[in-house]
Symmetry: C2
Subunit: 113 residues, 2 copies
């Protein structure tokens, strides 16, 4: 993850519809969801949804795969990880207590059974 990619990713995440799409896909897991299902979940028109999905894909935050008539979108977890790592790089400088809250906050998501 370099600065240009991080900027594109943050810009993509700074729009309501797109942030909702990403969060929906993050919680949908690696299987993702068909575009139509996403649009239904978010009450977005097809052209609006398509516009935002394409922005997210260009930013590298999601990926797509055709499946019959539908197109299935899923979160790219590696990009999200990379973005987080880029933002927090060198956060400690030898004092882990500084960024421990961030580490714990993220680790907590893995303990929701």
């Amino acid at each position: 993850m370099d600065e240009a990619h991080a900027l594109a990713a943050f810009a993509a995440l700074s729009q309501e519809t797109r942030l909702r799409i990403v969060r929906l896909l993050v919680s949908a897991g690696p299987e993702g969801m068909a575009a139509g299902a996403i649009g239904e979940a978010l009450a977005a028109s097809s052209s609006r949804l398509s516009f935002h999905l394409s922005q997210l894909e260009h930013a590298g935050l999601i990926q797509s795969q055709r499946e019959g008539r539908s197109i299935r979108y899923s979160a790219r977890y590696e990009s999200l990880s990379g973005l987080i790592a880029f933002l927090m790089r060198d956060c400690c400088q030898g004092r882990p207590e500084v960024c421990a809250p961030a580490v714990n906050a993220l680790a907590a998501c893995c303990q929701t059974p």
Copy 2:
């Protein structure tokens, strides 16, 4: 961290100068840096810097404290943690391997001695 705050934070991070400021302050530690030192490090004019610092502060990503003639800015680590947690909420759905890369990427920042 709610959606509105997350959107404001991502919008703040989606601009080159502001992303650089945040990363500079993240690695500067809790003591932060004076506005002048930030401007010097980033080669930004005073009005431009002031504009972006104020956006970042409004977004809750940094905080300021006057110190004599200068104003010292520092990263708000709790906000960054909250943002990460908001983005990745429910990423696992019982399958920790899905978001383990993100957890590891962040934890790695604390092991740079």
